[in-house]
Symmetry: C2
Subunit: 378 residues, 2 copies
C-alpha cells in the first residue's frame, strides 16, 4: 500500500505553523508498513486542492488530507472532496474530540481520506478509525516493512551506540534507528519479510540482541512514556511521589498528571518559583539560599526533602536551575540545573549542564528528573 499525504492550509504556506501532522501521520503509516511516497502542502484554494488530490490519486493507493474541514469560509476541503467524488459515495468519519467529521471516498482505485487539521482531532480520528482501516488493507503475506520501538533512558545517544556496538554484527537485513528526545533515546527496529510471522520473529531476534547489550537502559517496548512507566512502578510498590519545581515551573507535575489514573501515585507539589515560596512552603532555610543560592545542590536537596515531608509522599523530587535566556553567571551559566530525588533510604542530587535554549532546558530537566526516579525504582 502506497500513501500520499496532503496538508491543507494557508498557515502552512506562509510558515506560521510547523507541519507536525504530516510527520506524525508519516511515522504511523510507516509503522504499519505503508510506504509514504510524498508529502505535499497546498493553501486554502478550492482549485489547487482538487487538482492536487487528483494528482496524488494517480501516484498512490491512499491519499490522506489534513486541514480545511472547519466551519469557516476558508475551510474548503469538504467542498473539494464532494467535487472529486462525483457519483461515488462519501462516508463521514467520526470526530470524537471536535465538531467537524472526517470524510472517506473511493474512486478510480484510490481511497481519499480527509481529516481535520487540529492535531488532537486528527490523531484521535487516525488512531480510532483511519489507521485500523488501513491496517486491514495490508495483506498478511505482503512483503512489507514492520517496525517496533524500544525505549531507553538515562543514557545519551552516542554512549548508547557505543554500548550496543557495531550493528552490522547482528542487524542482517533489518534496520535500527536512534531517535533521541528529551526523555531518552527511542530505538526503532525495522524488519521486512514475506509474512507477519517472519517479520515478528526477526523483530524479536533483533530486540533480544539489543536487550542483551543495553537492557539496563530499556524502560519500555512500544509507545509508553517514561512518566507512565514510573507511575506503573510506583503503583505496583504502593508508593507516591511529590514534586518541588523551580525552573520547570510545573512541567514535571504536568508530565506525571498527563498519565491517566495518576492520582493513585502522584500526590501533588509546590511550584517554588520565588525564594519566598522555597522558604515558606518547602522549608528551604534562609541560610542555604543566602550562602549557596537558589540554584545549588543544597537548595535542590532541601526542596526534594521538603516536599516529601510536607506532602507525606514516598518520594520527593526537587528541580532548580537557570533556564535562560537571562540569569546566568560564570559559576552557574544558563543551562545549569540541580535535580534531587529524595526517598525512604537516601537523597540523591545531580548537577546537569544543558544548553542555552530555555524551552529545551526545561524539557530536558523534566526528562532527567524522570530518569533519576526511574533508576531508583528498577
Amino acid at each position: 500500500v502506497k500513501a500520499a499525504l496532503l496538508s491543507i492550509g494557508d498557515e502552512l504556506l506562509v510558515g506560521q505553523v510547523v507541519n507536525t501532522n504530516a510527520t506524525w501521520l508519516a511515522s504511523k503509516c510507516t509503522e504499519l508498513g505503508i510506504t509514504v511516497l510524498t508529502v505535499s502542502t497546498v493553501g486554502d484554494g478550492i482549485d489547487m486542492i482538487v487538482e492536487e488530490i487528483r494528482r496524488l490519486m494517480t501516484l498512490a493507493d491512499v491519499v490522506i488530507t489534513t486541514g480545511g474541514l472547519g466551519p469557516t469560509h476558508d475551510d474548503l476541503t469538504d467542498e473539494a472532496i464532494l467535487a472529486l467524488a462525483g457519483a461515488s459515495t462519501v462516508s463521514p468519519l467520526p470526530n470524537n474530540v471536535g465538531t467537524a467529521p472526517g470524510m472517506l471516498c473511493e474512486r478510480e482505485g484510490a481511497m481519499v481520506i480527509a481529516m481535520p487539521g487540529v492535531p488532537i482531532e486528527m490523531k484521535r480520528m487516525a488512531e480510532e478509525v483511519v489507521l485500523p482501516m488501513l491496517s486491514e488493507r495490508i495483506e498478511e503475506d505482503e512483503d512489507v516493512w514492520q517496525y517496533r520501538v524500544v525505549q531507553t533512558t538515562a543514557i545519551g545517544e552516542s554512549k548508547l551506540a557505543g554500548v550496543i556496538g557495531p550493528v552490522s554484527d547482528f542487524l542482517g537485513t533489518s534496520t535500527l534507528a536512534f531517535l533521541p528526545n528529551y526523555h531518552g533515546v527511542r530505538l526503532r527496529v525495522g524488519a521486512r519479510g514475506a509474512s507477519r510471522e517472519v517479520r515478528q520473529h526477526e523483530l524479536q531476534r533483533v530486540i533480544a540482541e539489543i536487550k542483551s547489550r543495553a537492557g539496563k537502559y530499556i524502560y519500555a517496548e512500544g509507545e509508553t512514556s517514561l512518566a507512565e512507566t514510573v507511575g506503573r512502578l510506583l503503583k505496583i510498590r504502593g508508593e507516591t511521589v511529590a514534586v518541588a519545581e523551580s525552573c520547570t515551573g510545573g512541567l514535571l507535575g504536568g508530565a506525571f498528571t498527563d498519565v491517566a489514573g495518576s492520582s493513585a501515585w502522584f500526590e501533588g507539589g509546590i511550584i517554588s518559583y520565588s525564594n519566598a515560596v522555597k522558604e515558606n512552603e518547602l522549608g528551604v532555610s534562609h541560610d542555604v539560599l543566602q550562602t549557596h543560592g537558589a540554584v545549588s545542590e543544597e537548595a535542590a536537596r532541601a526542596m526534594a526533602e521538603g516536599v516529601r515531608h510536607r506532602l507525606s509522599s514516598t518520594w520527593g523530587i526537587g528541580i532548580t536551575g537557570v533556564a535562560g535566556p537571562d540569569g546566568g553567571t560564570e559559576e552557574k551559566p544558563v543551562g545549569t540545573v540541580w535535580i534531587s530525588v529524595s526517598g525512604p533510604r537516601e537523597t540523591m542530587v545531580r548537577r546537569f549542564t544543558f544548553g542555552t535554549d530555555r524551552t529545551s532546558n526545561r524539557a530536558r530537566s523534566v526528562g532527567a528528573a524522570l530518569a533519576m526516579l526511574w533508576k531508583q525504582l528498577v
Copy 2:
C-alpha cells in the same frame, strides 16, 4: 514572484524528522512578499526528485529545494539538478557553515535553487545568499501578498465569526483566516497591493474593521502568547499571580514560566492533586470536599483564595476538574472543569464543559484560566 518549496529526504517520509526547514523558508519568503504556492516532500530517489522539480517549475517562478546535497550515497539532489540543467549553467552557492555548496540554475523561465538539509547550513545560505537574491527580484511596485496576525481569546471560533459578521462586507480583495488553538483564535489578515505602502494601508484598514467589531476579544497583534500578554499586564501593574492546580497538574505554572522573565510576576503555586494537599496546603475545608466534592465551585474558589493568601500574590487561580478518561459521573461528566480567579476586589468562578479527551481538556483548562485572568486585567 511565486515559489514552490521541495524538501528531499527519506527521513521526512517515514516521519522521523519534523520539517521545520519548510516552515522557516515559507515564513521568510512570505515576509519578502513571495507567495509560496506549495510545499512538497519526496524521498531519496533520483527519478522522483527530477520529476517533482520539473512539475514545480511549471507552477512557480522559483523552486527551492532543501536536502540531498551531502556526501553520502543517498544524497542525489546535485545529480538531479545537473540532469535538469541540460546545457544551462549551474552556479554554486557558498556554504559558510558546512561542506556541501548549494546550486543555482535557471531554465525555461524558472529558477531552481538547491540548498542543504541541515537547518543551520540552510538558514545561513538562505540569509546570506538566497533571500537577498530573491529580494532583488521583487520590485517595490510588484503586486504581492502581505500578512498580519491578530490574536483573540475568551471567545470561540463560531461566536467570533458571528461577532465579526459577513466578511464580504469589508474584506474586498483581502483575506481573513480563522486559526483556533487552545488559548483563543488567531486571525490572519492577508492583503495584496502594488506597493508596500498600499498593502500596509490595506492591512490597517481591515484590522481596524475587525477591531471595531471584535476589539474586546483581541489581546495582541503579531506572534505573542496569551501567557506573555498576561505577564506584561501584571508587570505594568506591579502585580503577581500564583496558581492552585488540580486536573492541570502544573501545566498553568508551566505556561506562565515558559515566558522568559516571568519571575517578575509569577510567584509559584501548589499542585493539589490529592485532597490531602487541597486541605493541608491550600486550606480547602474538609466540609467543602465532603459536601460539594473536589470538583466544585466551592473547591475552585477555596483553591484560588487559598493560594492567593498562602503565597501573598495579587491574584490566585484555582483549577479543578475531571480531565478523564475516568472519574466522570452523571452530574460531573468528563470534561467538567471549575476555574476560579481571585483578586483584590472579588473572586470569580466559572464552570466549563469541555470534551472527552484528557490532553485537550487539560490544555483548554489552561487557556480558559489565562483568558479569565486576562479579562480582569484589561
